[in-house]
């Protein structure tokens, strides 16, 4: 089983890297881009096959280490 954790800055928290990416895309002619937010993806290989149990455990991991909830939010996908 795999757990895919998407971590990004919360709305309202300044993301200068995302802003630089949006500006560079504009320089390349992608004028349809009005903003960008940069985050990270962490893939965890997990033992067992109880998706619900896995998700509960990954939530705990996010709260304890993977995300800093002062500035970041997270989304978890469990894949069989």
């Amino acid at each position: 089983m795999k757990a895919i954790v998407h971590i990004g800055l919360k709305p309202g928290v300044l993301d200068p890297q995302g802003r630089a990416i949006a500006r560079s895309l504009g320089d390349l002619g992608f004028s349809e881009v009005t903003g960008a937010r940069q985050g990270k993806v962490i893939e965890l290989d997990m033992k067992g096959n109880d998706a619900e149990k896995a998700k509960a455990s990954v939530i705990e991991m996010c709260e304890k280490l993977l995300a800093n909830t002062v500035i970041e939010s997270y989304k978890i996908d469990i894949e069989a």
Binding site: L9, L14, P16, Q17, L65, L66, N68, V70
Partner: protein, 220 residues
């Protein structure tokens, strides 16, 4: 005063901190490896040094904040042990939950490395009392992720309760409300991005950092 400095892999300011502490206290300072589980009972003041612990993996200070020694540091700091974190040390103290807020990438995305002017906004604390009436100091800064962030309610609470000890003059990193250094509610844990430990010898280019450490020494 017996002092200690915590040593993390890839932190590079532990020597600077030891040198500054030994110069100002006149006593040997103890280096404590991050895998240790206990800070000796007779230690009066702990510095969490700057650097790039764990190569800044995941987030600056995230891994170090979960190391065994920081577990004990949190316990002792909550019991009143004076602690100061500089640069990466500030990031570690925030990640460990000893100080509120977080440090984001610098607003202009640049690594900033220069002497930095700071305004002392509360001279009546165990970290600033020896400055007397002095209003401004210059400490070096050297960081990429020093943009202090906290929600508005937290920032207002910090300011109103005198927990903002230093503010930047010409904010170099985009920190909220120009905040450079803050302390916890009990006033025994302090963190800032600038490096007072790198301003204790004329050869450093300035000695404004000496009174930071003298404050702690004299407040005992």
């Amino acid at each position: 005063m017996k002092t200690a400095v915590i040593q993390f892999p890839a932190a590079n300011c532990d020597r600077d901190a030891i040198t500054a502490l030994e110069k100002i206290t006149g006593r040997e300072s103890t280096l404590i490896w991050h895998r240790e589980t206990e800070i000796p009972e007779d230690i009066d003041f702990v510095v969490v040094p700057g650097g790039f612990s764990y190569g800044d993996y995941l987030r600056c200070g995230a891994m170090a904040a979960r190391s065994p020694i920081v577990n004990d540091l949190v316990k002792k700091a909550n019991g009143g042990l004076p602690v100061a974190g500089f640069c990466n040390g500030f990031q570690i103290l925030c990640e460990a939950g000893l100080l509120p807020g977080a440090l984001l990438r610098n607003k202009n995305l640049k690594f900033v490395c220069k002497p930095q002017k700071l305004k002392i906004t509360n001279g009546n604390t165990r970290f600033t009392s020896a400055y007397g009436g002095q209003q401004e100091v210059v400490y070096p800064v050297a960081h990429h992720d020093g943009n202090y962030y906290a929600d508005d309610a937290t920032l207002s609470k910090l300011e109103k309760s005198g927990r903002v000890l230093f503010k930047y003059v010409d904010n170099p990193n985009g920190s909220a409300r120009d905040i450079a250094g803050i302390c916890n509610e009990d006033g025994n844990v302090f963190g800032m991005m600038p490096h007072p430990e790198r301003a204790v010898d004329p050869l450093h280019g300035g000695t404004d950092g000496i009174n930071f450490f003298k404050s702690i020494l004299e407040s005992r």
